[in-house]
Symmetry: C2
Subunit: 202 residues, 2 copies
């Protein structure tokens, strides 16, 4: 059979074909930081700014993952690890589909984030770790859901930053200081960073 006659397919469309169609690269932007550090606001502002620029972006967060895919997981160390493992696998699929994937989870353990990075590397997918580096005093003062207060009073156990550790990234691609800059400035700076690294267009 001549190759030009083959009109059915036994394999996935190549990532490059989807990236060509979209005019962008599939990447994962992994936000990490304490509760109330400003991850969600950064993620959503970035998502809106990218869509406004015609880039296909999607935020994975507690809203759409914890209540769906990961609703059978709790907050034990083991479940937290499985939580981040599944999120990193879903991010891999999204990035493979050509999407600018933004994950917004505390993801407190360095080992879990490093594993997500490693898996992306193995598939040749860029992994941009953004440390939302807000001092705990400021996170605790914000405390929109009163969770720090509950944790301090012992009503909430295993709360990251209070009685469960948060391990800061050692070499994040980008550090976001939400107490110093507004979300819209941080979002534009992240977009500038992606552009400078040639990560926005295919």
């Amino acid at each position: 059979m001549n190759a030009t006659n083959i009109t059915w397919h036994m394999n996935h469309v190549k990532r490059e074909e989807r990236e060509h169609l979209l005019g962008q690269k599939g990447i994962t932007i992994w936000l990490t930081g304490l509760p109330s550090s400003g991850k969600s606001t950064t993620a959503f502002t970035l998502e809106h700014d990218l869509i406004k620029r015609g880039r296909l972006a999607y935020v994975l967060d507690g809203d759409n993952v914890r209540h769906g895919l990961n609703k059978n997981l709790g907050f034990s160390a083991e479940d937290r690890e499985e939580n981040i493992r599944r999120i990193s696998e879903v991010a891999l699929l999204f990035a493979d589909a050509g999407i600018i994937t933004i994950t917004s989870f505390i993801s407190p353990y360095r080992q879990d984030r490093d594993l997500a990075r490693k898996k992306h590397g193995e598939k040749g997918l860029p992994f941009i770790e953004i440390f939302v580096d807000t001092p705990i005093e400021i996170c605790e003062a914000r405390d929109p859901k009163g969770l720090y207060k509950k944790a301090r009073m012992g009503e909430l156990k295993g709360f990251t930053g209070i009685d469960d550790p948060y391990e800061s990234p050692l070499n994040p691609e980008f550090v976001s200081r939400t107490e110093a800059k507004s979300p819209e400035i941080l979002s534009l700076e992240i977009i500038d960073y992606l552009r400078s690294e040639n990560l926005l267009r295919s």
Copy 2:
């Protein structure tokens, strides 16, 4: 503060905005059928045909899900249920992102597929069930990996169609008869169906 001044965001980009950007609707096309019934060939041919038409499509299958997200699952009834549950949650996320999501799994149990359909319905996402309805004699004659043979010899336990049940869809949106038509014709017929249901453009 005036609404026009709000330049940061506290919520996800709306599905409609992404669909507008892509010029298409997020939907899930759920293929189900016996082992070797032709699901993968149908899925990949459809994916290629959609991409060729400028539609963003992505296949979720054993390749990219069983070895990643679901690698900690086996083939017990419980694990099969969790396998399909996770796949349906990931399909929901993909469809929510505006992508034409094609799942290619045996998904033998009616109850699991119906749950996937129900979840899509709750989110207002179209769910197109395609029954790859190939007679077991033909599947068994194809048997590219020799799995039917192993199952018949008792070397493989819990094999769908031999010693584990396959429950056919009762009301699938589309029936694909791979013994009667070639994959490229089936793919074009599926695209025609999607077009006729107004599911291809946003």
